[in-house]
Amino acid sequence: MAKKQIHLAAHFPGVNNTTVWSDPESGSQTDFASFVAFAQNAERGLFDFLFLAEGLRLREHQGRIHDLDVVGRPDTFTVLNAIAAVTTHLGLGGTINTTFNEPWELAKQFASLDHLSGGRAAWNLVTSSDAFTGENFRRGGFLRPEQRYDRAQQMLDAARELWLSDGAPIDHHSDQFDMVGRFPIPPTPQGHPVLIQSGDSDAGREFGAKTADAIFSRHGSLESGQEFFADLKGRMGKYGRRPEEITILPATTFALGDTEAEAQENGHRIREAQVSPQTAIAFLEQVWGRDLSAHDPDGPLPDVDPDPGAEITRGRVRHEKDPVAVANRWRELAEAKGGLSIRELIIETTARQSFVGTPRQVAQQMDAYVQADASDGFILVPHLTPGGLDEFVEKVVPELQDLGSYRTEYTGPTLRDHLGLQKPS
């Protein structure tokens, strides 16, 4: 039997606490030249798509703009259309919120991107619906959290109707949208853009199982990857879908070296750069929900317990639901490792690379994950802009090809071709 093939996508390293801006090789995350260099390299590496995250309000920490990570990003549609001009096959995936947009306009923007890129567009539908973000929009934070996937579904149904309408009259009514008219843009080269989903709640997983062509997951380890893979693909049957219709791609980081020891050393260096002393305290404050600026990042964890109700950071997806439990776990971990400092602990818990080794070793690890159904591939999150993928493409991609689990050429021009997906009807 032919080996399961690995899919790769590339996350443009911008606003992200993994992006190392202090490295002398770190360039601008907003200059178009950075996008050109990054995208062209991903295309050389025969990646399925380039991926852009989205934020619609600058993040705040303790009531002020968070200033320790990379801040600022270009508009998704505009930069993806420009990248389409300097690439020929690379898919162009944009994260666009379903809460702060209207279907008619979004459908037009995505149809335009898909036409102008010759069928390479993908939409990562996210649902972040908080009032904090809503303060930048005329509709405000009008959506209750439990409604966000309803709106996402209605948004997608509406957009899909427009994309596939081919000039037929539209008369669409749901609780969120009323649209009457005729959508002027003919169906796009892909029928409509590829759909990506990345929420992780139960509602998010159902939405993904029902609608998505690809899932951006954060389950990067072997066990949690396998669990997520089985769970998500297990949900598809009730929607009449087959497991192959969704490509699951966890976010993955990596560190390379000519020898294993060198890779470990590089990995350690990257982790230290990702967690500056100030970042270590900020991370701690996120869990503790208190001002901990008086604590020495090179000293021990605070004695006080977290304030479980406090939301100290706004505009960031919060993964930790139970801060007291996290604090207790961290204290045990710090002790077990011989008394880790705050910064050492944060480095230990937040910034571990998924794959570390020589290019051959990393390729073998990735292949093993995919063959073991921990995923169908990966969204690589490099730590440097724009050169963070260069070494991977140059050295790991040929190893993956050598293992027989990665394409040696694009077999078609559209992103659906890369993902092995049918045109929707």
Binding site: R57, E102, P184, I185
Partner: protein, 359 residues
Amino acid sequence: MRTAHLAVEVSGFGRHPEAWRVAGVPRQALLTPAHHIGTAQLAAQAGADFLALPDSFDPDSLLDAVAIAARVAPVVPGIGLVPMATTTHTEPFHLSKAIATLDLVSSGRAGWEAAVSRTPEEAAQFGRKPAAPAADLWREAAEAIEVVVALWDSWEDDAVIRDVPTGRYVDRDKLHYIDHVGEFFSVKGPSMTPRSPQAHPLVVVREEPESLAVAARWADVVRIAAPDLGAAHAARERIRAAVADAGRDPDDVAVLLDVEVLLDADETAARRAYDDLGEHPAQTLRVVGGPDEFVAVLGERAVDGVTAVPLALPGGLRVLADEVAPRLLAAGLRVPADPTATLRGRFGLSRPANRFSGV
């Protein structure tokens, strides 16, 4: 003597409703990047200061104009790119970052033609509010432009500091909430997108009775329609007076007359082509004929320049590039474009100071 400005507007196969018949390619071609790159290249060869890309939510519109501009920007150097984007149904926050990003990907060649969506059909597509009278739409547009421009200033130029000793990527004192609360919406800010190369991409507004105050307050370029040069000159005077009343220097605002063109090196061929297209009422001064007739319009200097609006593509554009452009240079009406200039630079406008700096 100031040189005359030249812009080119392209939409579809041209402004004449029958233009598709003479295009020689199917309407489907308008969906391809090749078509838009081709027309932008011709406009750039004509030495145009900018390419205007109309857009709307009308059923006869096609691709998003900002998307087209962004797709063209990396492959067609030199020329400014001015997509139209309406303010009636869109979020100013999204608009602001889209145009700022167009400025980034074009290295300072972006503009924005601010317009309104006035029809009940467009309102019905969004289903959120009924169509409103033009005066209300333009009041809303004024507020939207105010927000967009404030967001363009919400990052100071030197906000990114990358200060390793203190661990700070940005100096947050150089990022500003705009805290806009108005009649139509409230927007907190700052923008997601840093201040762009031109700081304020060129703002273009078309004159109509209800938009005059908006143009006077916000426009760098005002597009007008007029049946003849006398009426155009009167419109220019009217706009300059309104600009002065709004407390701005009229010399900072260029008034460009729309001129519908169907040009051919051979004048009679142009007229024959027009006859083939069939009668269609002119929306503004129209020149059907040879290159000299078009050059004469600029030579009159009734306005600060013209926007050539081809009735049918691509023929008219090719004549602009091959025949008109050299004549304009020879007549001293235009000077060769500086390929490194920003779009504001082409209009003699400096990069605006940031309203927040030093505050």
